[in-house]
């Protein structure tokens, strides 16, 4: 007698049916991806900033909008996309002097040593790109829509994080958040963005150790108010990562592409291994080096906006060495050739050394050259920062007294 329709000691599911179902699911999500790709390319034509002709300056003038971000997230191919990424990262100036009101207006944190990159998660995939725009990793992650596994909400809603990839523990340390689940944080203050980094990351399992659908761990860095205690904690507190200097962010600064004086980097021997630039062999050269970009008119400029010109090359040399505008070139100069005028460096004699590492996307900034110059001579020391905070502190106190009086 055959049993009716009732399974006996047998699971109700069939693995074959699961294989079919999983294959169908995969197919339909790939179809959705393919259609989304087709549509996003159209999308990019809608937003003016991403027109193929958009170059350096005009792009920087433009306030990024959510549509731009979408464009960036979707245009994962080609050199234009690379350029976009490279241009949309916020870069700190090197700290030549301690800014006023450090304690009240600034955050400080220890910068992890590693590769600065933008991490974009959308459509079930996470991609990190380093400063020159090339892909560091393409991987599944537990960020929103960062893996095929947990697509929640629209698959195309993207998150963009500003991170440093720290090799020794294979962890992405999040230093800023640009976009979260399609919500743009460009126009938010640093204070708010840091708050979001902490609270939003907790909503995901991106902080978990790596697993199949989460190739790399993400971690927040402890961010402090730049009071004496905060500075002390950032400077000498222990971190799971190797430090490379301190980053200072003005609390009110919005996320803006390019170099900004409202974010500052500072380092000394105690909090970084790399104080003075080394050459390709890892040696500290006897003369200071600087990487500059060759302009149309033969001038040699920094990466600042507007660029600072440090010298020029004559046509004959340019032709002989087969150089083109836009080329990055490494120069050396002797300390005595440097003059400081109103906080600006002037260099009177640059010696051509050669071309820098190909991975380099930008010339050095003026502030970097200045910081390097200072580091070789009269570095800004931690004591100077402490003193600056203390003096601010006293100012605040005295103001209080006046107000009460």
């Amino acid at each position: 007698m055959a049993p009716p329709h009732r399974p006996y000691k047998r699971p109700a599911i069939s693995d074959q049916q699961r294989r079919r179902d999983l294959a169908l699911q995969a197919q339909s999500s790939r179809r959705a991806d393919a259609q989304a790709r087709a549509r996003s390319l159209a999308n990019s034509l809608l937003s003016p900033s991403s027109a193929e002709t958009a170059e350096g300056d005009s792009e920087r003038d433009h306030e990024p909008t959510v549509t731009d971000v979408a464009t960036a997230a979707s245009k994962l191919r080609g050199s234009d996309a690379r350029r976009w990424f490279a241009r949309h990262i916020m870069l700190p100036e090197w700290m030549a002097d301690a800014p006023p009101h450090l304690a009240s207006d600034w955050h400080v944190f220890a910068r992890p040593a590693g590769k600065r990159c933008l991490v974009v998660s959308c459509n079930g995939m996470t991609i990190s790109r380093v400063r020159n725009g090339s892909i560091l990793h393409r991987f599944p992650s537990a960020l929103p829509n960062g893996s095929k596994r947990d697509i929640s909400g629209p698959a195309s809603s993207y998150s963009i994080l500003d991170c440093i990839f720290h090799e020794p523990d294979e962890t992405y340390y999040i230093i800023d958040m640009i976009c979260w689940r399609g919500y743009s944080l460009y126009d938010c203050t640093a204070e708010f963005r840091f708050f979001w980094v902490n609270s939003k990351l907790m909503e995901t399992t991106a902080g978990d150790p790596p697993s199949t659908y989460h190739r790399y761990r993400f971690s927040v860095v402890p961010i402090y108010e730049c009071t004496l205690e905060g500075l002390e904690a950032a400077y000498s507190g222990s971190t799971p990562y190797m430090k490379d200097g301190l980053l200072f962010y003005n609390k009110h600064v919005h996320y803006q592409a390019g170099i900004t004086p409202l974010a500052l980097v500072w380092k000394d021997e105690a909090c970084s291994q790399y104080i003075i630039d080394t050459d390709s062999k890892g040696q500290v050269p006897s003369e200071q080096h600087v990487v500059l970009e060759l302009q149309e008119d033969g001038k040699l400029a920094t990466s600042d906006d507007p660029p600072v010109v440090f010298g020029s090359l004559d046509n004959e040399f340019i032709q002989k060495s087969n150089l083109r505008p836009g080329n990055l070139l490494r120069f050396a100069f002797r300390d005595e050739r440097v003059k400081l005028v109103d906080g600006k460096m002037e260099i009177s004699e640059l010696q051509f050394v050669g071309r820098p590492n190909r991975a380099r996307a930008f010339a050095d900034s003026h502030s970097k050259a200045l910081f390097q110059y200072a580091a070789r001579h009269a570095p800004l020391r931690i004591e100077d920062l402490v003193a600056s905070i203390q003096s601010n502190h006293m100012e605040v106190k005295s103001t209080d007294v006046e107000m009460q009086g």
Binding site: A23, Q27, N43, H214, R215
Partner: protein
């Protein structure tokens, strides 16, 4: 040779004679079908002819009216319908006469043939006198028992063949009256009574209004209950079968009879012979089915609950559970693990499991004393019953209730895998599987499996995988579920990594050992392997998976050397290849979604070679699992897949034309999509062939309809891959899309399945339009202008379907409340969300592709304004799509 001789020869032991006779029959049939059928009916009706030739005549007649294959069936019906009416009349008269035959086989066969003719004619409003003639047999003075028996059988079969709407209510009433009279104890012949109960079983679906009438219902129920205590066990069994059917069809009318039914079933379970007792248990199982379904359907709307769910199980619980626990102790000695065995302890345990799902926590205190009291007894029956009871109640009760019991009992269970009795070990392994399936959740606060006990559990499972095949099969199942627990907790699945080499080795040897004898063990072992692969943590296991890939490829290669002599061998070979291709598919998918992709890239040539060989060794069909695996491989290899296309193409084409095995066809359609995305414009040279077959598929009425929506989506995939090269297919594809869109208008909106199908079709059509629009976009965009108007109309129609939702829901709700308390109506929306998303997206694609050319269309079809606004109230994904669409339409409108 006359027809009798031919029919006898066709059953001869001599093969040559048989072949000749079959040839003769075929010839006769082809030369003169009407005469052929007539002669058969004469043969069947003639009491002078030998019973053997009459029986075969009846069978051939029956097979001339019906076939399993739907296309063949349609053909046979047409043949019958177009026969000369006078011939048909003669045949039908012969059939009715045969019911009175003294030869049982003849009248039995005749009653079946009558039902087949009825199934063709009654829906066509022909042979309306049939029911009256049959009833005449029953009321005829002094009708012999044999005639009544055959007539009741015929009535039963007729009811089985036709659907209720084809009989008038007075016909139904007359049938029921005749049947119920036949069941009456005053009817002396047990054969008649048995035939009557069986007929009632088939007629129950017709009795809706009779069950709604209390007096008629009382009468039917009384007769059925009386019949359940007849002297003859077959009649008692058939009566309980009727009760089972009444329980599920007329649940809502059952309440007044439950006490009686409980007593009847309890007595049967305790003391009746097994066939009757099994049906008595089945009654309670089917009540569980009903109540589980009621709970699921009305979940979240408590108010509806009390009106339709009588909670019979909950009320009967205190008596029901002990009754079923008793049955667990009635295991057979060498209980065969064959699929065809069904005995009282199996049935009792199964029912217990359903009760647990119905009443949840309430069952636990009723079962645990039995478990505890029996689990250590020396008699293996007691130990097995205790564990079976425990295993049966693991689904339903809350985790809070079960977790402590499982936690304290796990160690005991692990020890019991060493019990001297193999049935105890079998049930133990099954129970471990249930524990892992239902309660093992590594991410929970208090997991059943911890780092501390995992080594022991693994050790026990690996050890037991060497047990006798039926136990080993359950152990593989347990490994499957243990692994599955880590599916939602990938981050901790690496706890399995240290065990992986041994688990894989054990599963491979379990599969190996079973190679010739126990197919189910082999299947279980490979499926457990699949799950292990799915959850394994990459990259730490990529080397191991790479090795496994090699091993499985080696095994697949060996299948080509198997000695295939019979069709049975062929099937075995194909089944084994299916399992191995399944494992390969899972490994390919796993590795290709990770950094270990290179392993697949390096092995792709060999893999493809193997899959092609699998295809090649089954000339008659395309191997489904190999096709699935190729889809995974195409995704993994990307454009490189192009080099396999020349060789693979013919199999793909064959797969797309496999109408009989529609699963194969459907998977092949999916694989076309995979390949499109892999090859992109390199797909072009193959598109002519593929499009031709796909278009043929769409117009083939024999192909299962479920394959058609994916074919439309597939058009979109092709267009997206080959861009404006799709131009040449527009004249063929677009009319198909428009035709399908029109078909949607006439689908039956009251049938759940059709509503589902309608939505699949809508999605498929929209996906096709989207892919084609995006593909054609650019220089040749203007090609799409002629189709834009129709697309907008269709989109508007779909949009409006959705806005009818409110009024329809309301109607249905009222209907439910007042009339249809008995029917489990699912309240549905005509347009589901995925359709909405696809519909709104296609508007954007249209604006995107046509740009300014679509301006006037969007200006004159303003429904998009309202549609987009509504989308903002839906989920994020739809909203996002809608805002993109808004941007696109705005762009087109301002241009």
């Amino acid at each position: 040779m006359n027809i009798t001789q031919i029919l006898l020869a066709a059953q001869s032991a001599d093969g040559n004679l048989r072949t000749v006779a079959e040839g003769n029959l075929k010839q006769f049939q082809e030369q003169n079908l009407p005469n052929f059928l007539l002669s058969l009916s004469v043969e069947l009706s003639d009491d002078e002819r030998p019973p053997e030739s009459r029986r075969l005549a009846g069978i051939i007649l029956k097979n001339s009216l019906d076939a399993k294959d739907s296309a063949k069936k349609e053909l046979l019906i047409q043949q019958w319908v177009s026969l000369d009416p006078s011939i048909k009349l003669k045949i039908k008269e012969s059939l009715l006469i045969t019911l009175g035959s003294s030869v049982h086989d003849a009248r039995h066969t005749s009653s079946q043939v009558i039902a087949k003719v009825a199934s063709i004619e009654i829906p066509r409003r022909e042979w309306q006198e049939l029911i009256a003639k049959l009833l005449g047999n029953m009321t005829q003075q002094g009708a012999p028992a044999s005639l009544k028996q055959a007539t009741l059988e015929a009535l039963g079969y007729v009811c089985e063949e036709i659907s209720p709407e084809h009989l008038e209510q007075d016909q139904v009433n007359a049938v029921l009256t005749a049947v119920v009279q036949g069941m009456n104890q005053t009817e002396l012949s047990p054969e008649v009574r048995l035939a009557a109960v069986n007929a009632l079983y088939n007629a129950l679906d017709f009795a809706e209004s009779n069950f709604a009438n209390e007096m008629e219902r009382n009468y039917i129920m009384k007769v059925v209950c009386d019949t359940a205590v007849s002297k003859e066990v077959e009649i008692r069994q058939a009566a309980f079968e009727c009760l089972v059917a009444i329980g599920s069809t007329y649940y809502v009318h059952l309440e007044p009879y439950m006490q009686t039914i409980f007593n009847l079933t309890a007595n049967a379970v305790k003391g009746d012979e097994e066939p009757a007792a099994l049906q008595a248990i089945e009654f309670w199982s089917s009540i569980c089915d009903e109540e589980i379904e009621l709970q699921e359907e009305y979940e979240g709307s408590d108010d509806a609950n009390s009106t339709v769910n009588y909670r019979f199980i909950e009320k009967a619980l205190p008596s029901l559970v002990p009754m079923l626990l008793e049955t667990l102790l009635k295991q057979e000695e060498d209980q065969d693990q064959d699929d065809n065995v069904w005995n009282i302890s199996m049935s009792g345990g199964t029912c217990l499991g359903l009760i647990a799902r119905t009443v949840c926590d309430a069952i636990v205190p009723l079962v645990m004393p039995f478990v505890e009291g029996n689990i250590t007894k020396p008699d293996w029956h007691c130990r097995e019953a205790a564990i079976f009871a425990f295993g049966s109640i693991l689904e339903g009760p809350s985790v809070e209730k079960l977790a402590p019991l499982v936690q304290s009992g796990l160690d005991f269970l692990l020890n019991t895998t060493k019990d001297p009795n193999s049935q105890v070990r079998d049930t133990t392994a099954w129970t471990l599987g249930r524990v892992f399936e239902l309660l093992h959740s590594p991410a929970s606060a208090n997991p059943i499996i911890t780092n501390a006990n995992l080594p022991r559990i693994m050790n026990v499972l690996l050890e037991s995988s060497k047990d006798v095949p039926n136990v080993a099969e359950k152990v593989c199942g347990a490994i499957y579920f243990l692994a599955q627990g880590y599916e939602d907790a990938e981050s901790i699945s690496s706890v399995l990594t240290p065990f992986l080499p041994n688990v894989i080795a054990a599963l491979l040897s379990a599969a190996d050992r079973a190679d010739t004898t126990h197919f189910r063990l082999r299947a279980s072992a490979y499926e457990a392997l699949n799950e292990i692969v799915r959850v394994s943590s990459i990259p730490e296991t990529s080397v191991i998976l790479g090795q496994l890939l090699q091993e499985i490829m080696k095994r697949l290669n060996l299948t080509f050397d198997l000695h295939v002599l019979s069709s049975g061998d062929k099937e075995k070979q194909s089944d084994l290849q299916a399992l191995l291709c399944g494992v390969l598919q899972v490994i390919i998918q796993k590795l290709s979604s990770s950094d270990a992709k290179s392993i697949i890239a390096q092995t792709a040539d060999q893999l493809m070679f193997l899959f092609l060989r699998v295809f090649a060794c089954h000339s008659s069909t395309v191997h489904e699992e190999a096709m699935l695996a190729i889809g995974a491989l195409a995704y993994a290899t990307g454009t490189d897949f192009v080099k396999y296309m020349p060789e693979f193409f013919k199999y793909l084409e064959a797969g797309l034309q496999n109408y009989e095995e529609y699963q194969v066809c459907s998977i092949s359609v999916g694989v076309v999509g995979d390949i499109c995305r892999a090859l992109e414009d390199k797909m072009l040279p193959f598109c002519d062939g593929i499009m031709t077959v796909l278009l043929k598929d769409l117009s083939n009425s024999m192909l299962n309809r479920s394959v058609k929506p994916p074919i439309f989506s597939c058009f979109g995939d092709i267009a997206l891959a080959i861009g404006d090269n799709f131009e040449k297919y527009l004249p063929y594809a677009m009319p198909m899309l428009q035709g399908a869109a029109e078909l949607l208008g006439v689908l039956d909106h009251t049938d759940d399945d059709m509503v589902d199908y309608g939505n699949q079709l809508r999605r498929g059509i929209f996906e096709a339009y989207s892919g084609i629009l995006q593909g054609i976009k650019g220089a040749k965009a203007q090609l799409m202008i002629p189709y834009a108007g129709h697309l907008l109309q269709f989109t508007e129609a779909v949009y409006k379907d959705g806005s009818r939702f409110m009024s329809c829901t309301l109607q249905i709700m009222l209907w439910v409340m007042f009339y249809l308390l008995t029917l489990h109506l699912r309240v549905y929306n005509f347009r589901d969300e995925s359709v909405t998303k696809a519909a709104v997206a296609v508007l954007g694609d249209l604006a995107d592709t046509l740009g300014p050319s679509s301006k006037d269309l969007f200006k004159s079809n303003l429904f998009h304004v309202e549609f987009l606004r509504e989308c903002h109230d839906l989920d994020d994904e739809v909203r996002d799509t809608a805002s993109w669409v808004q941007g696109m339409i705005n762009q087109a409108l301002v241009s």
